[in-house]
């Protein structure tokens, strides 16, 4: 789960990382700054790049804070309307830095990314001026001691007193990352003020959902559905799909987002499902939904999900597309798909636009599909090609 900025900053403060003086106000409250001088109004929404999208407003000393806050509360920013604003003192900045810690899934170790230039898009900086960025792994066992943190910072050319201070903040951020079971802990920017203070101006903290049970305080925040006005409210169709997913612990089959097309998608595997979804659209297909299946879901779950997607008005076909699977069995998915279609009173041969799941137990899966006359393909057919076949098949149906 992604914490809102003020929630993340309260954790930073607990670990001794300085944050600006500020106050959080809700829509119904009258905003009063607990300091004199210009203020920064920050919409508390779970997205990055708020500065570029109107989510951060500078309010000068002589401007009406109440009026500006009301305007920000009324603004929808990339689909989100803020329910809370963070009002912070506007600081006189001398220099900005970037620091982040995340988990490198290839190296299977946490990694520090530090840049001597903050407040910028780190991906752009990595392409244009890679010398300003230093990346280094560390271990969960040893953590990131201050002397190692300083070495990382020094790699980017930072010296003197700032080096000592930034090293200390980076080491503390690593502790936050480890102790809160974060998947991302980022401070961007860490500001060096004109008075020589280091202050975390913004913070992005993502906590591993599966570790929330170890952090009752953060879990309580996660449970509070009122903290964020979702960009899109969950539909009844999506809620029913989530219920299917909760039927048993085996795999995933029910994380669904509803769209208004005619082609049901039963697609899987994180990036592969996004690829398949985009490919279907690129080939002119109109998805009725996005979904994720994976982790070897039970036949019952796949069956129920298939039937559920076919129950959506206008959905005549489903495309079943995954990347090459190793931890999901093709035959079990095939059983669930066929059973779900039959239970919906349809013909599998007519209903499956394409079945493209190569991998574990594919020979058995293909026997099942052959028996029911379902169009399937193996790994020699790309996800893109399978998406094209599906889009064409659904297009013919609706034409």
């Amino acid at each position: 789960m992604r914490l809102l900025e003020f929630e993340a900053k309260s954790i930073l403060k607990r670990y001794g990382i300085p944050i600006p003086e500020g106050v959080v106000v809700a829509g119904e409250e009258t905003p009063v700054a607990p300091f004199s001088g210009p203020a920064v109004l920050k919409a508390q929404i779970p997205i990055g790049g708020r500065g570029k999208t109107g989510g951060i407003v500078i309010v000068d000393k002589d401007e009406d804070l109440k009026e500006r806050a009301a305007a920000l509360f009324a603004t929808r920013i990339r689909g989100y309307r803020p329910k809370k604003l963070l009002i912070e003192e506007k600081l006189d900045l001398k220099r900005e830095f970037f620091m982040a810690i995340t988990y490198d899934t290839v190296a299977k170790e946490p990694i520090v990314i530090f840049s001597s230039e903050g407040g910028v898009d780190i991906e752009e900086l990595a392409q244009g001026e890679p010398e300003k960025i230093c990346k280094q792994h560390f271990t969960f066992r040893d953590g990131l001691p201050e002397h190692k943190a300083r070495e990382i910072v020094a790699e980017t050319g930072v010296t003197g007193k700032p080096l000592l201070g930034i090293g200390a903040v980076l080491a503390k951020l690593a502790t936050v990352f480890i102790q809160t079971d974060a998947t991302i802990a980022e401070i961007n920017p860490l500001a060096l003020t004109a008075s020589g203070q280091l202050i975390a101006l913004d913070c992005h903290l993502d906590i591993d959902d599966d570790a929330l049970f170890r952090h009752p305080d953060i879990a309580a925040i996660a449970k509070d559905e009122s903290r964020i006005e979702a960009a899109k409210a969950q539909t009844e169709f999506e809620r029913q799909a989530a219920l299917i997913d909760s039927v048993d612990h085996r795999g995933v089959a029910g994380r669904v987002i509803e769209f208004d097309g005619n082609l049901g998608l039963i697609i899987g595997g994180g990036g592969a499902s996004l690829t398949a979804f985009d490919a279907v659209r690129a080939h002119g297909g109109k998805p009725a939904n996005y979904c994720e299946i994976g982790g070897n879901p039970s036949v019952k779950k796949v069956q129920a999900l298939t039937k559920h997607i076919l129950s959506k008005p206008g959905v005549e076909k489903v495309a079943v597309i995954m990347n090459v699977v190793s931890n999901t069995r093709v035959d079990l998915v095939a059983r669930g798909i066929v059973k779900g279609i039959l239970e919906a009173g349809r013909d599998p041969a007519e209903t499956v636009a394409v079945f493209r799941i190569p991998g574990a137990w594919e020979a058995e899966g293909f026997k099942i599909l052959r028996k029911y006359g379902v169009r399937y393909c193996d790994r020699t057919v790309s996800i893109d090609e399978a998406a094209r076949m599906a889009a064409q098949s659904a297009g013919r149906q609706s034409a």
């Binding site: 019952k300 069995r329 079990l332 066929v338 039959l342 599998p348 099942i368 028996k371 029911y372």
Partner: protein, 76 residues
């Protein structure tokens, strides 16, 4: 090849003549990871709604050396 109207892919058959030992019966009914067997009044029965969850892991076959269990694939 005939297809089942509701899509049934696996049938589990039990021949109790081949396994009389109550301890052995208890062992193979309890070993299935997807709950295909249950004991009703001490007698093993197949839970039909779970039959298609069979992964062919073979644990029940190993636990029943007498050969009371037969797994039939209906799609071959």
């Amino acid at each position: 090849m005939e297809t089942h109207p509701m899509g049934v892919f696996v049938r589990i058959h039990i021949d109790l003549d081949k396994c009389q030992d109550p301890q052995e019966v208890k062992a193979w009914t309890g070993v299935c990871p997807v709950g295909i067997f249950k004991l009703v009044n001490g007698q093993p029965v197949v839970v039909e709604e779970n039959e298609d969850e069979c992964t062919f892991c073979g644990l029940c076959l190993q636990a029943c050396p007498g050969g009371a269990i037969r797994i039939e694939k209906l799609y071959e």
